[in-house]
Symmetry: C2
Amino acid sequence: MRLVSIDMDDFSFTIQKKGEGLARAGTIHTPHGDIQTPAFVTVGTKATVKALSPEQVKDMGSQVVLANTYHLYLEPGDELVKKGGGLHRFMNWNGPTMTDSGGFQVFSLGAAFGKGVTKFASTTEVEFSVEVDLDMQSKSILPLAKIDEEGVDFRSHIDGSAHRLTPEKSLQIQHNIGADIIFAFDECTSPQAPYEYQKEALDRTHRWAKRSLDEHKRLGGPQALFGIVQGGKHEDLRKESARQIGSMDFDGFGIGGSFTKEDIGTAVRWVNELLPEDKPRHLLGIGEPRDLFLGVESGCDTFDCVAPTRIGRNGALYTKEGRINILNARYAEDFSPLDQDCECYACKNYTRAYVAHLFRVKEMFAGTLASIHNLYFLTKLVSDMRKALIEDNFSEYKADFLKKYYKVDTASNV
Amino acid sequence: MRLVSIDMDDFSFTIQKKGEGLARAGTIHTPHGDIQTPAFVTVGTKATVKALSPEQVKDMGSQVVLANTYHLYLEPGDELVKKGGGLHRFMNWNGPTMTDSGGFQVFSLGAAFGKGVTKFASTTEVEFSVEVDLDMQSKSILPLAKIDEEGVDFRSHIDGSAHRLTPEKSLQIQHNIGADIIFAFDECTSPQAPYEYQKEALDRTHRWAKRSLDEHKRLGGPQALFGIVQGGKHEDLRKESARQIGSMDFDGFGIGGSFTKEDIGTAVRWVNELLPEDKPRHLLGIGEPRDLFLGVESGCDTFDCVAPTRIGRNGALYTKEGRINILNARYAEDFSPLDQDCECYACKNYTRAYVAHLFRVKEMFAGTLASIHNLYFLTKLVSDMRKALIEDNFSEYKADFLKKYYKVDTASNV
């Protein structure tokens, strides 16, 4: 029995059960509560989960919210978040939180100012809508983000103003924001970049990891710092990165980069076979159901992705029989729930016809209901994977889900 | 103790206390619960209160939601709402509901297709943003709405499609939608229309009132029908309308038209001095705090207005010291609540700095928090008027509120 509700200097990870492949069910303890893993992390980019109140996020089943360092640094500024009592108090979310390092956005959003938007995310659920061939050697393509040994000069995607991020600055920002779990500053390279460049960037990311750790220790406090493993799809680079980052005194690890379905079964596995088993592993930016199964089997504990809310706001909804678009004419007079037997708030209280109506007349509550449903769906999917791991029936659960969802025999080809 | 939770054939109005002028505190009983009056009605135009869940509407203190017949007739269609179980079930709001007659929108939104948007609402809190001089005698200005003795031909403001509303059709639509309180079909004339036209339109509105009542009886069911009094700012027309409509077998009354501050103290009073005292009176489209006090003193029991949510979505917030715009630079680092000592969800859990941030980065939750606060403010304002009436201190409450809100000595000039 604890005397205080918030245990400010306590971060731990315990494994309850090991399962298929590298899969495990565990518990991450943070100063703001526990995360039962595997777990899907809700993205709240700008210190708000789009279209939802924190109560709706909690009721939907979310255990943890991830905000974006890059966005909060630019607006409203990390100093302001700190003055407002830190992320939890500022946004009224009292559960566990994470911030990413800002690296991904600096190299995609920041760099892309005035040039369209770059994507580094999963193949099927994209973080941004336009893909740009990001040749890091061609200066003409990337005039706005300039990397040197110390850090990165970039311009804001909002107003073009000049900024500089270094490992130290990223950590200072993340300490101001005050999330429970924060990440080391890394360079997220394009999968199209040549091997030589990826090797060079990886070595720098390792040096930045050490500097992130040093700055984190200098700043002090209860936050847990995760190091980020990079290395693209190259086995030697991924393994080298896992060994290097894994040997440092991080509280856990993030696995970054661009992943195709194949990469998750290979690159992620190479990494997790080498990372210390007793620390949690976060797979950055992955949210397609099939990828989540592969991620869990490959030894990842947590996942975040904007897909459920982003596609939801466009009317795309997950169902156990695959994705549907609620604006399809067939749902206009369909008075069944969004997904049969779903226990989410949207499905218990509204019909497909009502949600389709809200989308057609462009009412904000459409985005709220679709986001609640999609977040509930993925959060429960990963939570059910945990349950299956504990009950020793992960393979059956996976085969059953994938067969219905993708309408294919998944025993062999997933 | 009732055996069923919904008493389907019960509508009544009781007066608990009479106060200043024509003011009274009462209770409207409907099949979906009671409305303690005076009461501010929450507008849910398209079967949703913009940016809010029904739970947020209820938590904010709302007793009753008003949806718009014109909008629901066009999208998704009243037949669809009926198939979906009626308005309450369709939108998941189990409290009392109202629908207006569609008349106001037919003559403003419908008529204005392709020509800008017309306003017939209150002077300070406008229903629509562009005002058009609506000369009913000039055919060239209104080619899209054509009135005859039977009804109105108009075009949808959405797609220009042709439609016809008659008193019978309006009642059929409102019976399909299924709100607890519905309104007779009326012609809402422009205050700029000449006296002769207003007289002609008023006589037609009285004939339409009779036809609305006949159709309502023919259709049967538990809904309460309110007749609408028109007559512009002309004392003889207003009094004639109050006598005519007041003599018909309606369950209550709506007072329609365009009101300036002066009209509420005069036109509304002329009407309510003549309407039967034992039936409830709804003042349509009024929401400015000063007007609400005048409305209550002039004998009105309920009020609806889109202002609190509409201005809220633009960052305008009510406070006890008057309206503020949260995007003003002075609030960027203001960590106090939106309004000091306010007990609404937004004020209890968030700061001005946070809400300003949400508006700046265009997050949907900004509109949610601003709407909750503004609706709470007006709902509580009218609820506190009721309390003051019951406790015999309405004048003191009014003087105190208006002095702070408008920062003027209001004893003489309001």
